[in-house]
Amino acid sequence: MFIVSASLCAVCCPKVCIVGAGPAGFYTAQHLIKSRQDVEVDIYERLPVPFGLVRFGVAPDHPEVKNVINTFTQTAQHSRCSFYGNVNVGTDVSVKELQQAYHAVVLSYGAEGNRRMGVPGEDLAGVHAAKDFVGWYNGLPDNRKVFGLSTILFFILGQGNVALDVARILLSPMDMLKKTDITQPALDLLAESRIRRVLIVGRRGPMQIACTIKEVREMVNLPDTRPEMVAADFKGIAEAVKEVPRPRKRLTELLLKTALDVPTEKEQEKRSKASRVWGFRFFRSPVEVLPAPDLSRAAAIRLAVNRLEGSGEGASAVPTGEVEDVPCGLVISSIGYKSLPIDPLLPFDSRKAIVPNTMGRVQKTAGVYCSGWLKTGPTGVIGTTMNNSFDTARALLEDMDSGALDVSSAKPGSQGVTPLLEKRGVKPVEFSDWEKIDNEEIKRGVAMGKPREKLLSVDEMLHVART
């Protein structure tokens, strides 16, 4: 009787596997579990810890954005959801093996790589990808290398929200940072840093800036700092801003106010006492990073001066032929994350760096779907990813209902995967193991006056998970 029940359950339960335990993976799982009472979802994650960029990308001083962890935790604790951390899909188990074990596979592993600038000198010491810098202050085990912060001037190339997060963390007063979950090594280094000036550089003009207003407002309000812009960059902007959509209008108005308006008495006082400076520089593209005389590290950056062709969001930057060499010791390239292929048998669009898909259904690959940045490219806030993931889940559910995805025959699910992992010496971390890591981090954080003190290495995470 018992055995018959078990096999009946195996027949009727559609089993879905999700690769990647960040927001995309969790929102996809959430929607699937809520929409069908028989779906079981297993989420595989490379690291021992879940939550992806919510843990490793969102800035330490934005804890409210991390509140989504609560809803993800609820999903992970659901009886029809299981988390398998410390499993690297592509090396520990192949996507083909997952397809054999599950009725459907959803790829939600995001963007682990960086877009390269493609200029000479890019690999010199002193030039870093923003993703690696963010990973460093957020405790991503892959980014434990120490950054030298002994220069006074810091260039950030790119003007999206990641660039502004980096600038803000570099310039924030220690009093603010020390109460966040920024890693202690990063905090210690920032406390000793000599950084006094951060310039955030973009190819185009103020009306094409990629960041959002909340982040600009945070820079404007950052204690002990003052803004420094080039008035000429804003020529014609006050007129052009009148006819644009609301979000662009409000953002541009804030930039104009910050750059051009006579400050209030209070603001003037703040600026005169400020010890640190930040500013946007426009119409500049990097063409080369120039080395120091001993060729060991970056000493200056050569920037091409651009003009705009066209207007609005689609305007393009055209070089004028003029270049500027600016001495600087530290350059952060913040021009975009990039997804990487994890399995040669899966289609991958190297130009767009996404898995080619139609509404989340991976092209030419039945039973495989994608959600999050892997599906649409690495832009958007958590809310964007939520909608994106719900969309993929709906496509998957439609396919189950229509029969396009055959769920009539039993699949073993994780029981088809864990024996393979065991044979390969891979021991998954379950959600309850993550909770041990979570509790340990919170406990260490209490001692430091922080919400948590993150464990910084996979070894340490596994050690705590196994005790």
Partner: protein, 176 residues
């Protein structure tokens, strides 16, 4: 950090009154599993500026599928509180739990209701800028509090991205 956001995060009275729905991110404690269903797990609403006198106020929600839901909340509750407390089926609503860090509690109000609510702080406007389907009478549900004057008001849940799908779903960028 703005005064409004500081208030939302650190108001001790609020934290006490919503003890059962505390967010781990704010307090650093382990998350208390809420009693809402998966997919609608909003825990804590930080409507700092709402007082909590007696009296229920009836409001109608028009959901994304056009379904009308008639429900009520206490005077002083935010619209986000109502969605959470009444377990309304709005997937993904209130992701940041009322802390002005997202726009997923976006609601479209009737003109008269919108007009009487008055001034909107910059931080809410900044988040509204990112909302899908923004209108002239849009507000964030976590910032709108029930009062007698909202009795019988109808609010509309805007269409999400999946209701505005395009054929080419690759590479279209949204806000950074």
């Amino acid at each position: 950090m703005s005064a409004a956001r500081r208030l939302l995060r650190f108001n001790p009275r609020l934290l006490q009154s919503r003890t059962n729905k505390r967010t781990a991110a704010v307090t650093g404690a382990a998350a208390t599993p809420p009693h809402t269903s998966v997919g609608n797990a909003v825990l804590f609403s930080g409507s700092a500026q709402c007082r909590r006198p007696e009296g229920r106020v009836t409001v109608h929600f028009i959901n994304r599928d056009g379904q009308k839901i008639t429900t009520s909340g206490a005077e002083g509750d935010s619209l986000l509180d109502v969605v959470v407390d009444q377990k309304l089926d709005i997937p993904g609503y209130g992701a940041c739990e009322g802390t002005l860090a997202c726009s997923t509690c976006h609601l479209i109000l009737e003109q008269e209701v919108y007009d009487q609510l008055g001034h909107i702080i910059d931080e809410e406007q900044d988040m509204l800028d990112l909302a899908y389907g923004l209108t002239e009478t849009s507000r964030l549900g976590c910032q709108v509090c029930l009062s007698r004057s909202l009795e019988g008001a109808t609010v509309r849940v805007p269409a999400g991205l999946f209701d505005m799908r395009r054929a080419d779903s690759s590479g279209s960028s949204s806000s950074a």
